[in-house]
Symmetry: C2
Subunit: 483 residues, 2 copies
């Protein structure tokens, strides 16, 4: 398939160009003027709002409260947790001047908020009765990126970051895994991405964490994308910031803290997990417009058809369906079809005078099992029910398709050549010795990294796929090239 005048580069030709062209032409996002920043356009921001609403509800349902902590963190705070500052130092943006003067102490634009939240937690917690303290914030953060990529790695991005404090390790670890499960649900049930939840190997941990968990999704090119992380921080930040409580016995103890985040990166994940050569394919639950109606009529029939389209849109809206009528007079129906395919609308309805006379409309799905969207006539009378069901089906179809794809591109490998081959097309499930140097060699040779040790993996041990040393973790590790 060649690149058409209005089409995007095919995925098979250059996945990276396909991605950049798709997200910008579909009007999700574009580059901002400052290096690595992005402007999230209304169509992209609406996807974020839909994800946010689902995630925020689950964050609240699990007992967390939203709060807001300052953007600016004194430089000295970051230095209090040694591993943390070491991990983030190369990515920091620093405010040195404000109000026309040089500041006495430079301010860091938050790359994440463990330090400033830790400082406040220390003030707010005094007794076991104050625990657990379950906080979350929706915010922008800044991490200077050398190789920025829209949504995936931007200098500034939007996210939520949860921060909690607990009386003991068990409760903190339970929280860490609970939020990983929430992320798994959001990815699977909302974005239709069948992610694999698991633990990171030590080399891939968050700077300052005792254990890091992530969800990993497979993109259409077989690479992995980390779509959310949840960290058990032990008492590292509690020690650095003095987060302590008086237990029931009247003794001071350190709190165990956690943090967890999901970002606008998730939009990029949805694009790459479902898109095709025509452009975006949006799961209905995050589609700004789930149904796009294209009225097709010229001359005197046009008014009647437009009126019918608007009336239908009103009924769909009343049924809770996000609908858009594309009544642009200056472009042709064919242009609109291509446009809404590029922009990933799950369902399209065409209505012309003959359909109207027959009390029907033509329904086209963005794609079906064959990758083509055949058209079927549906009755206008029962359109709300028909389309609500079609949207549910389409959502389920995308998840099934992504699950099949992930399974077809994941293989348990036992030997090195097999491993090296597998990570060129997908994920390799392998035993590994756990040595950082061995991870480094694998990365140098294949560009693959350990994505996670899947929580659901069965107990297994043997020898390292790379070096032959005894395997670690008691489980297989998932390796892949990653975004």
């Amino acid at each position: 398939m060649a690149r058409g005048e209005r089409g995007v580069t095919p995925q098979s030709e250059d996945f990276s160009s396909w991605y950049n062209e798709t997200v910008t032409r579909a009007q999700l996002v574009e580059r901002g003027p400052a290096k690595g920043t992005m402007v999230i356009r209304p169509y992209g921001y609406r996807i974020w709002e839909l994800l946010q609403a689902e995630l925020d509800r689950r964050i609240k349902d699990t007992g967390h409260e939203n709060a807001y902590f300052p953007l600016f963190i004194p430089e000295s705070y970051l230095k209090r947790e040694a591993e943390h500052v070491e991990g983030f130092a190369p990515e920091l943006a620093v405010v040195t001047h404000a109000g026309g003067k040089e500041l006495e102490e430079p301010l860091i634009v938050r790359p994440t908020s463990e330090t400033i939240v830790g400082e406040m937690m220390a003030k707010w917690i005094s007794s076991y009765r104050d625990l657990p303290l379950l906080l979350n914030q929706w915010a922008n953060v800044v991490r200077w990126e050398l190789r920025p990529r829209l949504f995936l790695r931007t200098t500034e991005f939007l996210w939520q970051e949860g921060h909690t404090a607990h009386a003991d390790a068990a409760d903190a670890l339970r929280e860490t895994l609970q939020m990983l499960e929430v992320y798994t649900e959001i990815a699977r049930d909302i974005a239709a991405i069948p992610v694999v939840p698991g633990e990171k190997t030590p080399g891939e941990r968050f700077a300052g964490a005792v254990q890091t968990f992530s969800i990993e999704g497979m993109m259409r090119d077989g690479k992995a994308l980390q779509a959310g992380t949840s960290h058990y921080l032990g008492t590292n930040f509690a020690k650095a910031f003095g987060i302590q409580y008086l237990n029931r016995a009247g003794t001071q103890e350190l709190c165990h803290t956690t943090s967890w985040g999901m970002a606008t990166r998730m939009i990029g994940a949805a694009v790459m997990a479902h898109g095709d050569d025509k452009g975006l394919v949006l799961p209905p639950r995050i589609a700004p417009y789930q149904v796009v109606i294209v009225p097709i009529a010229r001359g005197e029939a046009a008014e009647e058809v437009d009126t019918a389209a608007r009336e239908l849109a009103g009924r769909l809206k009343a049924a809770g369906i996000r609908v858009h009528v594309d009544d642009r007079p200056q472009v042709s129906p064919g242009f609109k079809f291509n446009d809404w395919e590029l922009r990933g609308a799950p369902l399209r309805l065409e209505i012309g005078p003959r359909d109207l006379a027959a009390g029907t409309a033509l329904l086209a799905r963005r794609l079906d099992a064959q990758g083509e969207g055949g058209k079927v006539a549906i009755a206008l009378d029962t359109a709300p029910q028909t389309l609500a069901a079609a949207l549910e089906e389409f959502q389920a179809f995308l998840l099934r398709r992504a699950t099949d794809f992930r399974e077809s591109r994941t293989a348990a490998v036992e030997a090195w050549p097999e491993f090296a081959q597998q990570v060129t097309v997908g994920w390799a499930s392998a035993l590994h010795c756990g040595r950082p140097e061995c991870e480094d060699e694998i990365k140098a040779e294949t560009a693959a990294t350990p994505r996670c040790i899947p929580n659901a993996a069965p107990v297994e041990s043997g020898i390292c796929v790379r070096c032959g040393a005894p395997s670690a973790y008691g489980k297989r590790v998932l390796f892949a090239r990653a975004y």
Copy 2:
């Protein structure tokens, strides 16, 4: 009334101390580590979320779409609109280093986003068909404050900023006034603040605006607080950033743009418009907990009472009421009563074993016409309906009380001594010559400034209350000391 051990400084003694003690002890907010920043705690953030939900719905209902623009703005952008940069220069925070290096061009942390939005609008608009372009963003902004004040003037605050582009002045001005009306509704119908919408005098305009409108609310000390602004920017930013369109006749024309914002300052406004010597008084529509249930029982009755309280809470929640059961075992009922008065819960329900036996609970309002909350028994059976009605009444009562207060503290004044006296207790409605020097003299002598020229003021002219020159504007101007 003297300051009790747990009470706050009375308003009459020192309004400013009352405010600072109230917002921090009620756990709305506290100071952040970097100068002038604030940490918005869950109880305060929930108020913001409730305001946001109401405002966001109205912004969308009037056809606007949310988007997100970068935090960092190249310094050169701000300089393109001369008045704009002059107005904001003293308040800017500047990032000079990032990713371990000094930046070639310093980045400004956005104080407001007209410039960066203007740059993008210029790319997105080409024809009259692209207009009006109606955008909004929810974001944090930074303005370096010399005299910071929690919620009212903080170095960083949260807000929404709308940015729109139109084909002509009439459409842009209609938009400016429409959003002023939306702000008026939010203040009046949600925060129970009977604000006065009007136009700013030239000296009080937004830097770069042709016309600035605001809503002004009266606080319990008689001062004014600007709770939202809406600006008609003419073609100033369109010229600076090249925001143009091809009209129907095929000619390039400049767009007319607007911007409008409402911020976390609104929380401070609600605190100062309704609070009393016991602490906060929250309008039900923005109260995190509209009803607080305090179970009162010891020993073996405790379990039964707690169960009944939770069962009642479940029924209230199902009826859409935000309810909280204060079952803290470590503090007394009296402590809880004071605490929820301080924190401004509109209604409190007490349930003890005798109430339970009688199928009732004791209802106390946070305040009534006498400023005291008398208790009445209500039936548990019908509590959801009774309380829903009581919340509506309380909301209406607060608005009526604030309206009466504003009217009693606003006076039309004709002569200077009268003016000088009036602004020590409230607002003065006066004719003014419109000369900036005369405004300056008034400010120097009385600390009062022109708040706005009320939209609803009748046509009137005569001589300036201060200097005797002919009056300007064809209307009276509202003068007051302000936050």
